[in-house]
């Protein structure tokens, strides 16, 4: 390839495709007329553009049916996501496959309701138990404060004697 060809080689395909501005196209045209190598490339590109199109195929017999089935599936998913989820759950629940799940859920709701509606005195609430513990501690405050003395038997004996003397 000649040095002058390098100025044009990147435009040869676009020249054949008619994609160059008129000025540029004219310059390439005059070069191609005087250059065997570039003229050969142009001829090859023209033959490439004239290649026969491949055989045309038609959609298969079940193409349409398959598509509309897919579309129906996508739509029901969209409905489920866009607020129709409740009706979707209900329709699932009343199906045979959803009945076991429905029965389980109903049992769960029943147990929770029983717990929430139990009689008020069935058990002391946690807060009241803590209050009772606090009261007991308060009543035995002296004992608790002298708990170290309670562990010393000699001291207990002395205290006992002093108590009897007193």
């Amino acid at each position: 390839m000649k040095l002058t060809c390098m100025k044009y080689e990147h435009d040869l395909v676009a020249y054949v495709d008619g994609e160059l501005p008129p000025d540029r196209a004219r310059r390439i045209e005059s070069h191609v007329q005087s250059c065997g190598a570039c003229s050969a490339v142009v001829a090859e590109c023209r033959r490439l553009n004239a290649l026969p199109s491949p055989a045309v195929i038609e959609p298969s017999a079940d193409f349409d049916r398959m598509f509309w089935t897919k579309l129906a599936g996508v739509r029901s998913e969209q409905e489920l996501q866009a607020g129709g989820w409740l009706s979707g759950i209900v329709s699932f629940m009343i199906r045979p496959s959803g009945l076991a799940l429905s029965a389980g859920l109903a049992l769960g709701v029943f147990v929770v309701a029983l717990y929430l509606l139990r009689p008020p005195n069935a058990a002391l609430p946690q807060q009241e138990i803590m209050a009772a513990v606090d009261l007991d501690l308060y009543a035995n405050l002296d004992v608790i404060q002298n708990s170290e003395a309670l562990e010393n038997f000699e001291l207990i004996e002395v205290l006992d004697e002093l108590d009897q003397d007193g």
Binding site: V13, A14, L48, N49, P54, I57, F63, F67, K70
Partner: protein
Amino acid sequence: MDKQNHDDPNVLLMLRFQGGEEGAFRILFEEYRGPLLNFIFRYCQDRRVAEELTQEVFLRVHKSAQSYRPEAMFSTWLYRIATNICLNELRTGRYRYETEFKGPDEHDASIQYDPVDESTRVKTDEQMAATEQQRQVQHALEKLPKKQRLALIFSVYDQLSYREIGQRLGCSEAAVKSIVHRSKLALRDILKKAGMGI
């Protein structure tokens, strides 16, 4: 919306579909399923995959109805979706297809042969040579990078301008010029190497 798009009857159909007219979508589906199928088939060379991807394109169109903006011709928008699906879906391996070119199945009743050929079922030497040439060209296309392959299909088979190819591929005219240049010279070299004179 510019005037060009306003004049496109298929843009108007898409807008009618956007407005809730389901029949408008059906018209678009029936008009474009054949051309789209052939475009994708030329790209992937697998009928089953081409049908799946064509259906995928129309599912996307249906899903995108609410966000559709008529910023281009309807066909440009449609082929842009198809191009993205060809480039992305096949890359993810979701649709596996044979990379080995098998050529069109001559027993496939859906393939449209030349009417003369259809009536006589006898191929002349010329027709057989053309079929062989087609087979070799398709085989050569398979060897090109995906974007070059798409650009070639749009340029050689669909005779689109660089501007239209750019709109479908989502790139500039300058980029298309470069891609088409490389793809045509690469195709020429592959065919020469395979002993097929062009």
